[in-house]
Subunit: 361 residues, 2 copies
């Protein structure tokens, strides 16, 4: 079934989620605007990497920043530096933290850092979780928004309280801000304001920004200097990172100001889903451009149902459904450049059909 | 002085070494030949990465291969896998091995692997060095050619003997083949033939091949499967590596067959240097496209002398001189696409002037 489903999605006239296909044209479009004579960066030095790092340091309100090939590398290194500084190889994060579930235990295997898991898979980390922690830790990692539970966010006051508590207790606070720019419209804060609550921050350049790959780590000068040494140790200090840097800069310029629009569209889109029988979004009202759509039906059933929907309406909602258990399934949605291109009438028609089909199950 | 020297080099009409500027045009030229609709690789899967990996596995005569963002990452991982397999965290390599001098001790800091240093900074590893080693090791790394001593190579029979000895003793043999394609004309062997002496092989795609960045690790299927897990742990399993892969494939196609020409040109060029007073190359006769040029004069003197030479002749020999001690200095030369573009008359005139200037010191 998966094959038929994927095919039906790919062949749909319109896709509702994301910025579009991750094809080579994305890179070609970005490079178009730069002169061929522009010199490559060289192992972390050179104008192209320095300029972007300085720009991001300013955007994030930190002393310094460094471009990494991946967030996986950047975050392990951030935690390692804080652990070394305290002489304690223990950190705390959410059980669905990227480091815990998507990195083949790199943090443990390469850095021998042990995580304390706070809160549980159903909810965000609260101030009480931090205060009641029994183990001493070097660093607390907060992911904003918490992607694996639909992109939920704590109240801003909770963030401030956790930050104040960590400072008081000498715990470093690190932000997994893979989708930091996407949450600013909800918080009504600048990136620098949110980052000021944290000692170190990682942001991705290929989520809402839509670059090719790469990440930025920002923090104090000493922290960033250390991170460059670790970047070399990890094998991340490439002779040329410019293909990622130029595309990051290009799409940052194009999309930074669109985050409020994506957020508004995500709320509208979630509303459409929530009007359908046996369908609900998480969170009920999105707090960024992303959310999860839960179905009270198994994955196989939904793949079949949606494949039919895509074929009948020309509207592709998602190409990846994941199983939760035998009765329920979900997919992830990110409002991006494509949403505005879907004719309103066709979109409404598709959701009407979705509702009908879900009632027919 | 360094500034004036670098400027004089950059402003020279002709550069004698390398393929040309590492500017954005190198990437643009490569991407030109691919259709914008080509889909990105996705975290190690997808046609673009699979096809290139299969191609390189075949070229290198190994079961499987994997594309890495860097050789630093690929090689640490190769040694880690062999150490884990033997349950012994000790390897052997040359004192001027890349892992020992250019990686901020990543092998020790991340993998806790201890190196035994064989031979010394003046010569290659010989069979006796391996046979007489007191410590038990999991893996021996040989760098072909040994870059930091001018790109020297052992006799092929020595390679065969070391390989046979390692197999007999249960020592894995890993090749740092950053410049493997560049040495094939000297050995008069195929890449697969040389690789057959080794259990695992790393090759770079941006040395003689002249891609943007990246590396290939090749070996048995089980070894490569494990390397993919470690690649993720290191933060090297990027969502998109295609900018490096496409350019690697493009320039591999363009330059693979030119290695014999580069080798021939390197010998010719080395001959010109060796005819000059107080100048000698290492090796005396190159065995690949690369060699080092040693000057019996301090770095500062040579920068001043060469800046003048470049301005007078329009020929730029090198932009980076390194100090050996207070009396001697050197630079590295790689014959590449640029050599053939230098008018013979001008080149000979430049070497005549170099000889004169060296005699005048």
């Amino acid at each position: 079934m998966s094959g038929t489903f994927t095919k039906a999605f790919k062949q749909a006239d319109y896709h509702v989620s994301g910025h579009g296909s991750r094809n080579l044209q994305v890179l070609k479009d970005a490079l178009e605007s730069y002169d061929g004579g522009m010199e490559s960066d060289m192992y972390g030095s050179g104008k192209v990497i320095k300029d972007f790092q300085e720009k991001m340091a300013e955007v994030l309100g930190k002393e310094d920043a460094v471009f990494f090939p991946s967030g996986t590398m950047a975050q392990q290194i951030a935690l390692r530096i804080w652990c070394d500084e305290k002489g304690l190889k223990r950190v705390a994060y959410h059980p669905l933290c990227h480091l815990e579930i998507h990195e083949e235990d790199g943090l443990k295997e390469l850095h021998h850092i042990k995580p304390v898991l706070l809160a549980d898979e159903s909810r965000l980390i609260a101030l009480e979780d931090v205060v009641n922690m029994k183990e001493e830790i070097a660093c607390l990692l907060l992911e904003l928004p918490q992607r694996e539970i639909g992109g939920q966010l704590p109240d801003y006051s909770t963030l401030e309280e956790i930050s104040a508590y960590c400072r008081e207790k000498g715990i470093k606070l690190h932000m997994d801000g893979a989708r930091l720019f996407e949450i600013l419209p909800f918080y009504q804060k600048s990136a620098a304001e949110v980052c000021s609550l944290f000692d170190s921050v990682y942001v991705s350049v290929y989520k809402g920004i839509g670059g090719i790959a790469g990440a930025v780590l920002a923090g104090g000068k000493d922290f960033i200097d250390k991170s460059k040494v670790w970047k070399r140790r990890h094998g991340g200090d490439l002779i040329s990172l410019y293909p990622y840097i130029l595309s990051a800069d290009f799409y940052f310029g194009q999309r930074q100001e669109k985050m409020a629009q994506y957020y508004k569209e995500a709320k509208e889109l979630a509303g459409f889903y929530n009007e359908c029988h046996r369908v609900s979004t998480r969170p009920a009202e999105p707090v960024s451009n992303m959310f999860h759509v839960h179905f009270e039906a198994p994955k196989e059933t939904m793949e079949s149902l949606l494949a039919g929907l895509y074929e009948e309406t020309g509207i592709g909602l998602s190409g990846h459904i994941r199983e939760i258990n035998e009765q329920t399934s979900y997919f992830e949605v990110s409002a991006g450049d494509l949403y505005g291109k879907v004719p309103e009438e066709k979109l409404k028609c598709a959701f009407q059909k979705l509702d009908e089909k879900m009632r027919g199950l």
